[in-house]
Subunit: 228 residues, 4 copies
């Protein structure tokens, strides 16, 4: 058996190589969107032309989003627990995740390359930290990760069950999950998560998803300005 | 452009050839279900063996339904309006339908081969009608369909808008829609609609769907007893 | 037992008195929205002041919609079948409806006071019809309704089951249903249905809902410009 | 302003007093379920009698669940992060939660009174641990919590933003959220979470919810066997 922590062939690395998003599979193409939309008009087409781009543009800009729901993507995601917490708030996705009740293997912890400063005004935001040596912070965090993992293994060794022992592991623990979503709800996710209001870490994942799906739906990507 | 009322290549006829369900496309295979489930265990496999059938059986019988959500089907459906009313109560599907605000072409009406009697006890059920000549009923209904369509065209000819004129068309009017759903929610639909509590007409569609998807997910079909 | 076709005490009539929407019950107030939002800040308040209006305005204008989901309304609706078809496309509502498999009582049909003309350019739109005597149209439609109902009763009298006989009834048949929805999804419904792109008939229902809920959530109504 | 970490007046304590669930508000009563169901029959009633219990029993046992969706509850929940992770997998609830991007106040960590042993056969289960002095485990965990919180405050003091600093906090961190759900989906949650397959900690919350809502829907509770 293959370890699940290995990304699939099509994937994009994020968080300085510590995380990734992979594209597992997809349902439908841009032609599917157009044919789903044309059901309304009682028509169908076999191949795409200039008028189709105009129709795609019209559908997306006028929020006629139902035809987009026949396009579906399955991703695999490797991200810190606090990113997963934000991701799972999106209730239109289907998820399957490594259960830490079930296995203690392959534990990893996210260690940021750079830290950010608390924003001076916006209470929930952060700002870039220029001219700072992050070595001290990284050492503190690295030692904490190691200590936490050591404690976890001590508890397991003494017989404590995995589902309770994991409680001592920090929220930068990496998790791996599969996630399936339709294009309409994916666009909504990307609007919220590739945004300056989003935490930098989840925004990295949103950008990676745009890279992965843009070649599959190039005209949609262009209409939504993802190439910018 | 192709007329939308023509079924796709893979389809099953129902209601004595007056309706059909077609399988447009699908996401994932039974191997996808197993790999999605194994994400929980931190493992993945490339091909299927006997243990996989055991796991599939376990997942389905113990209602571990989340791995089934990574399998998605897109159907096209041609059915009477009163069947669509029952279908659209299922809110986990994505739908696109011919709009009768938009087009007046290709109007058809369902004319049952056989009528059923009101059930003597169960107020919402019907029972088979043996030794009955349905010719009279069919003539009455056919004439009504023709009169309704004639009135509709008269209203249109006098300038009345389609969205109001359609109000005179009977509920046996045929509609065509695309519908996308994941396997978990499809199974739930089939439990309710391939049931003796369901109206015979929608049950025909549920049975047709079982025929269409069984070759794609043969072990799931077997576990659920669809081949019986 | 009370007939269900009678509206509840709080209701608004629409379609020249032929239809209505009633407000059955509600969960939460504007204070609930604010307290749900303040959970994020780790705070709660007992009563409302000027700052709260500012926060409400901010939440709605910046699409921080999750706090709105703790406000829920239950409506009862009496509308033509073709309006229900449009309504039930909204999959975030919970519905219960009179089943025409179960009962044949209280059948009514919508007879428009005024007809509209097909729009000259926009294929799915209609335009007002000035200086037109609608008497002829109304007579044609009224006679069609009567004939359809007569045929329905003939079929029932001969023993045909209700679930099949109803197929001859026209799409202007009135239906009655209960519908429960949270405020976030209600606002989305109203944006789409109180719009110039919507059919006039369902727009009437959207406007009636605004009238019913505005006194309950007056600041939200003001922020969204419903009083205009 | 009131601190959000204080439970509402109606609440049940769990996890040895470290967590709680509170009932904030509710929509509808058992009479609502019955009237929603009777919409199908074209009837309504004002008060409840013996036949109503029979109908309730029939609806629940035959999975006619749509009338249950007009009953809605809002809870506030104070639980460990790893319980919230399991809870938020339920996508039919509406959630609002204290954001640790926004505030660093009132941090608490769950410290179990008793530990459980890893189950010998079932890889994801735990079993009771008899005749064990948990003092040593609790000291190890308590010291880890204190060290983690100290590191968190050090990072904040040096200017690190909250959204990154929280990554060092362990998964037994307590979180507080509001959660709204309808009765149909609540029952489904309780089936999965008040189960021997569920982790003991979330099961405590499921049991607390049953205690809170049973007085509100006594007949439903009896039909589902919650009093046992």
């Amino acid at each position: 058996m293959k370890k699940i922590n290995i990304p699939p062939s099509k994937h994009v690395k994020v968080l300085d190589g510590q995380g990734w998003v992979g594209l597992i599979d997809q349902l439908g193409t841009e032609m599917t969107i157009l044919n789903a939309a044309r059901v309304s008009f009682g028509k169908m087409k076999e191949s795409m032309d200039e008028n189709d781009i105009v129709l795609l543009d019209y559908l997306i800009k006028n929020k006629h989003t139902s035809p987009l729901e026949h396009i579906v993507f399955t991703f695999s995601v490797h991200c810190p627990l606090f990113v997963r917490g934000q991701w799972h708030r999106h209730r239109t996705w289907s998820y399957n995740e490594i259960s830490r009740r079930y296995t203690e293997i392959d534990l990893e912890f996210y260690l940021p390359e750079k830290l950010r400063k608390q924003a001076p005004v916006n209470r929930q935001a952060s700002v870039e930290w220029e001219n700072c040596d992050f070595g001290e912070f990284r050492t503190m965090m690295k030692e904490h990760n190691d200590r936490s993992l050591k404690l976890y293994h001590e508890l397991l060794a003494k017989g404590v069950c995995r589902e309770q022992a994991r409680a001592v592991l920090p929220q930068n623990m990496m998790v791996t999950f599969w996630a399936t979503v339709d294009l309409n709800n994916l666009i909504h996710f990307l609007e919220l998560r590739d945004s300056e209001h989003a935490q930098w870490e989840i925004r990295e994942y949103a950008l990676a998803i745009k890279k992965l799906v843009s070649p599959v739906i190039p005209n949609v990507a262009k209409i939504l300005g993802w190439q910018d």
